[in-house]
């Protein structure tokens, strides 16, 4: 509680307020005065500076006027120096004329010209030039002038010569001194024919020059004037003209000290100028070496009061203010001290009163706090009870308290769970409400709970509601004291639905486990690290594993047998991509069981769709594969059989030709018609070759395919293959239908040179299949069109028929194995096999068809780029005449045969009948190709090849192509040291001429 303000305090506060207000006013006044002084000081300085600027500006203006004046004089002298009279004088002089005879007239002209110029050059009607004269450079004397020579005052004689020598071809202003009279002369060298022949001098009337400058009425001792570079005043006050301005003004170094229109001060108080300090401004006059000076007493441009005075004023002001403040401060201190003593006395009294008051207030505060605490406790208890009541009443669980075998407390949710009223629940033993079969469990749980106060117990049992329907409850109970008696506080949760769902899951799991365990196909689950989680019995059978535990002990990704078969790859792919992966593998298990497996792997995902493993269906397709191969073989044999009929037909025709020609040859032999016999024999040979080709094609077609064969495929022309297929199948589409009165028109559009890389006999098989299908689709005849073309990097084969066509539903299945529309006669492997072949060759196969409108099968292959290989296969390619060949064989007959054959094609054919002979021959005559027998008596063909390779390496020459002839070509070809021995190719005996020339042609192109 604040005490009432005392008069003393009020007085003190009033004093303090007055003191501070006075001090504040004093400070404000001081600042204002300081500000005013600064402003005045600045204003005076600005005025002084402006005056200086004006003074300097005046000088610059006069310098500018003088510059224009001197510039005009330069113009004048330039004009006069280009006058005709000057030129005429030197022209006539150069002609040799003398003054007596004509030359004087030029001088007279010159003088007249000078006089005219002088008369015209006026400023304010006054001649600018006092004198004009021309000095001949050679004679160094005036030869023409506006005055008699004796009256000239241009320059004194001594000065003239040195001044002229200084003068260059541009006008310069010189100072003339004649009889101590200073003047200014503008001098310009005159040139005739680029040689200085004289000098034009024009003495200025300084009076006209001085008129150019407006002069103020002289005040005191100020003046302006023009000085020469040495500082001599040329123009100015008469008493100072001719004197050195540096001495006059007391400023050393004038006029150079001025610089460019500068202002300097002289503090030498020279009596000659009234004993005042001077202010000097000026600067160089353009076009001259002269300087303009303007001298005034400094007092005219005084820069206000001196700084010293200003310092004194400021100091006085500050000292005054400080003294006033100190006096005020001292008096204030006395007042404050007095007030403080009075306040201390009063404060002592106030302190006693406040202490007593505080004690009373503290006591009162304690009482209030105690009352408040009690109120808060009661309120908290009430609120706590209310909270717990609401908690229990609104709990979703049933809460009960039981002792002495009865419910003592139930919450509303318990009433809802049991369907009984609170009276019913609390009046009957709680066993009444428990499902009879579970009463033992419930009683046990109750008893254990009340025996152990503070400990939790849980149990599940069924209760019966008011409708007699059992419900599963989960009870979580704790032992407590209720009304001082051991009791059980139980929390009951209705788990009936959960129990029911768990039962469903259990039954479902049992069902699916049974399915998996009894499935006829293998099933396996692995995690992302390849650890096998589950396998079924079928998989154990497929793998031949003794037990599931043994199988689970291996890691799918690292188990060597699986890795060797490439099986981990499909699982890795499935896990990495999250996609279903399918593959087939030949597999021999850890336990030795060979099989062919088809695996379909499906990713396993957790609820967040993360793949945590995969499950796979593993099918043993060993038998299926075997059956498929048998079917393919059957299909091929069937095709061969079909073709065989046609081949037999063709063969009969060929035999007919052979027999006929042979008969004719025999007849001609009797008559010794050798030419005709030769013709018949050639025809027989050609026909036999055709027959052999037909048989070879049939052999190729019937030969079993092997995957290894594709690796050694070659480049071939599809157009030739198609032509051969058409020829081979001619009985199907021509002879046989014709016999039955059916007409099939075959058209073809085949582009030559459509190269493929692969196995020609397999592609041949595909074409035959398509032709066969087309013919079979046209039982009553029709059109078949075969096209081979190129499009970009693709080769396209199309077989189109106008037959019955294929329904849309069948179109989806025609490439499936074992599917056929031909009834029991078809194997269903033709198109499936063809598609497999096409796919193996990197191609695609498709069909467009509809019922009644025929079908078009289209196959696209990647085009081969191996032109060299193709050219080697092409019999039309150029000859290989440039090759040199060495034939080595211990059979003379074979050597002769090969020599005769090769001499028709090669430039040189060397022969040897033993290995050493062949080696010696090679040393003397290196060749391009060596054809050597393998089995020879002294050294075999492999040794010969090694020797020749060593010779080439030693001599640093190119190794020849080494062809090894042998009857065991297949076995030899598998040996791996052939290449190391330098053998390039193995040819099987007996080698045909075509085969040999084919190889040589290929070599010729490569060479």
């Amino acid at each position: 509680m604040a005490l009432p303000e005392t008069p003393l305090k009020k007085e003190k506060r009033n004093f303090q307020r007055s003191y501070w207000i006075f001090l504040l006013v004093l400070v404000v006044l001081s600042c204002f005065l300081t500000y005013l002084l600064i402003r005045v000081y600045r204003a005076s300085n600005l005025l002084a500076e402006a005056s200086r600027q004006s003074f300097s500006q005046e000088s610059r203006m006069k310098i500018s006027i003088l510059g224009e004046y001197f510039q005009q004089r330069i113009v004048d002298i330039e004009a006069l120096s280009s006058s005709r009279a000057l030129h005429a004088y030197y022209q006539n002089k150069s002609l040799g004329m003398s003054l007596e005879y004509g030359l004087a007239v030029a001088l007279a002209e010159m003088r007249a010209e000078f006089e005219r110029f002088q008369g015209n050059a006026l400023l304010k009607k006054r001649p600018v030039f006092e004198e004009i004269a021309f000095v001949d450079a050679r004679e160094m004397r005036v030869i023409a002038a506006t005055k008699p020579f004796s009256e000239l005052k241009l320059m004194d004689t001594n000065y003239l010569e040195s001044a002229l020598q200084r003068s260059e071809r541009v006008p310069v202003f010189e100072v003339s001194r004649t009889d101590s009279v200073l003047g200014v002369v503008v001098v310009r060298a005159y040139s005739y024919k680029d040689k200085v022949t004289g000098y034009l001098l024009m003495k200025l009337d300084l009076g006209t020059l001085w008129d150019q400058i407006e002069h103020d009425v002289p005040q005191n001792n100020d003046f302006d004037g023009i000085v020469d570079p040495s500082g001599i005043l040329l123009m100015g006050p008469p008493k100072l003209v001719g004197k050195n301005v540096g001495k006059v003004t007391g400023v050393g170094g004038l006029p150079s000290a001025l610089g460019e229109t500068g202002v300097i001060e002289s503090h030498d108080h020279l009596p000659a100028l009234g004993g005042e300090s001077l202010l000097i401004s000026g600067g160089n006059i353009p076009y001259t070496t002269f300087t303009f000076l303007n001298v005034v007493p400094s007092s005219r441009y005084l820069a206000g009061y001196s700084p010293f005075l200003w310092v004194l004023v400021f100091s006085g002001l500050v000292v005054g203010i400080v003294i006033i403040v100190v006096i005020l401060f001292r008096s204030a201190l006395v007042q404050v001290r007095m007030f403080r003593q009075l306040e201390e006395a009063r404060d002592t009294l106030d302190t006693r009163v406040r202490e007593r008051t505080a004690e009373l207030a503290e006591t009162n505060q304690h009482l209030k706090a105690e009352i408040s605490e009690r109120k808060r406790t009661a309120q908290a208890l009430e609120e706590s009870e209310k909270k717990y009541r609401e908690l229990i009443d609104n709990a979703i669980e049933s809460i009960v308290v039981a002792n002495e075998g009865k419910f003592k407390f139930v919450n509303p949710n318990t009433l809802e769970l049991f369907g009984f009223s609170i009276q019913d629940l609390t009046s009957r033993p709680f066993e009444f409400f428990v499902y009879p079969e579970d009463r033992e469990i419930a009683a046990k749980c109750y008893l254990e709970t009340i025996d152990a106060e503070g400990e939790n117990r849980s149990c599940e049992f069924r209760i019966l509601n008011s409708s007699g329907i059992p419900k599963w409850v989960y009870v979580n109970a704790v032992g407590i004291k209720w009304d001082g008696k051991p009791s059980a506080l139980g929390f009951l949760t209705d788990v009936t639905e959960r129990k029911r769902a768990m039962e469903v899951v259990r039954r479902s799991e049992e069902k699916y486990r049974s399915l998996v365990d009894n499935a006829p196909i293998g099933i396996i689950l692995i995690d992302t690290k390849g650890q096998i989680l589950e396998v079924n019995r079928a998989l154990l059978d497929i793998l031949g594993s003794p037990s599931a535990e043994d199988t689970k002990s291996i890691n799918l990704f690292s188990f060597p047998t699986l890795v060797a078969a490439g099986i981990p790859e499909i699982f890795s792919r499935c896990i990495e991509t999250g996609q279903v992966a399918t593959a087939e593998f030949p597999y021999r298990s850890k336990w030795g069981r060979p099989s062919h497996l088809r695996i379909v792997s499906t990713p396993l995902r957790d609820p967040s769709s993360m793949v945590y493993g995969c499950q796979a269906v593993v099918e043993d397709v060993t038998e299926q594969k075997r059956a498929q191969e048998l079917l393919l073989e059957t299909e091929r044999i069937k095709g061969v059989a079909d073709l065989a009929g046609g081949v037999a037909h063709n063969f009969n025709n060929l035999l007919q030709v052979v027999m006929g020609r042979a008969q004719l040859a025999l007849n001609d032999l009797k008559n010794r018609y050798t030419e005709r016999i030769n013709s018949h024999l050639q025809q027989i040979v050609e026909t036999s070759r055709m027959g052999a080709d037909t048989v070879k094609r049939l052999q190729n077609f019937s030969r079993l395919r092997s995957d290894q064969a594709l690796v050694v495929g070659k480049v071939f022309d599809l157009s030739h293959t198609v032509e051969h297929a058409l020829a081979m199948t001619e009985p199907w589409w021509k002879s046989k239908p014709a016999r039955d009165g059916i007409r099939i028109v075959v058209s073809k559009n085949i582009k030559i040179g459509c190269l493929l890389n692969g196995k020609e006999n397999e592609i041949f098989e595909v074409i035959v299949n398509l032709i066969k299908n087309a013919v079979e689709a046209m039982p009553t005849g029709g059109d078949m069109d075969i096209r081979v073309s190129e499009k970009g990097e693709e080769v396209i084969l199309q077989v189109q028929d106008s037959g019955t066509g294929i329904s849309q539903s069948d179109l989806k299945r025609i490439f499936d194995p074992f599917w056929t529309s031909k009834g029991p006669g078809g194997t269903g492997m033709g198109l499936a096999s063809s598609k497999g072949i096409v796919t193996d060759h990197g191609g695609e196969m498709s069909v467009i068809s509809s019922l009644g409108c025929g079908s078009t099968f289209t196959i696209t292959f990647p085009r081969a780029n191996g032109l060299i290989e193709w050219a080697a296969n092409n019999p039309n390619i150029q000859s290989f005449l440039h090759l040199k060949v060495l034939v080595i064989d211990d059979s003379e007959q074979i050597v002769d045969f090969l020599q005769q054959t090769l001499e028709e094609h090669c430039s040189t054919v060397l022969t040897a009948t033993s290995g050493p002979e062949g080696i010696e021959l090679f040393k003397r005559n290196p060749v391009d190709v060596v054809i050597c027998d393998l089995g020879m008596t002294e050294i075999n063909g492999i040794a010969v090849s090694s020797e020749i390779q060593a010779i080439c390496r030693e001599r640093s020459i190119r190794k020849p192509v080494f062809l090894l002839l042998t009857g065991w070509a297949d076995q030899i070809a598998e040996e791996q040291n052939l290449f190391e021995s330098g053998i390039d190719r193995v040819l099987g005996k007996p080698v045909t001429i075509n085969e040999l020339t084919h190889v040589l042609r290929e070599l010729a192109i490569q060479k």
Binding site: A88, G96, S98, E100, Y101, G102, V105
Partner: protein
Amino acid sequence: MFKTVAALIAVTLGCVLVPLAEADLSHIKDAGVLRHLGVPYSNFVTGDGDGLDVEILKMYATELGVNYQYVKTSWETVISDLAGKRVMPKGDEIEILGDAPVKGDIVGNGLTVLPWRKKVINFSAPYFPTAVWVVARADSDLDPIGPSGNAAEDVILTKKILRGRQILGIRDTCLDPDLYNVQGGISRYKEGLQLNDLPAALIKGEFELTLQDAPDALLALMKYPGKVKVIGAITEEQAMAFGISKDCPELLASFNTFLRKLSEGGRLTELITKYYPLITDYFPDVGK
């Protein structure tokens, strides 16, 4: 006998000259006109109605109180038009060829006082100094002489270098090369050529050398700077004067009086420098 013959001759001459005396001063005053015989030449008679001689004679006519009349003549006839006699100069001598009508009272066109002319007419007091100079084209290989300081020597020197050279002149004038006895010099004349045309004839390249009166040569130098050059003098200093008939002694006396007054008053010098501004550089005493 001699006196008789002399008397007869005097009577005869007197009879002959009586009609001529009509041209004398009184007759002029009576006639009220002063007839100025002039050939356009240089700045003496410009042909445009002015000229030094024209102006002097106009002043003289004014003084006499008569009108001034210009009578144009030619160099071939100027003497005969004044003297009434046709004459042919032969060196310093003359041959009288016959009479001619008198067309004027006084000749004024920078007439040089020559000996042969003196035999036919009278000359007033000389008013204009002159000399005959040899003028060449600037590209002539003749170099001007170096003045010796003596006029006679300069003439000899000039004539010496003119040997074998063709010199353009005009007959019946003071610029006739034949008058000056240039040994080895070849006089050339061109029909129709006037005195004023001589420098132009040089510049055109038709001739290498010509003669010019000194004042006229000075004008040529001023007019054609660098194109002509003065080689030297072919005569010593000569004089120009007005020609007056020998039958007019009063006129001669009167005119000489007039000239003297003109000279003494400085007026003559003014007039001369008006038309020949640079002449004083050569002849400082001209007009005095």
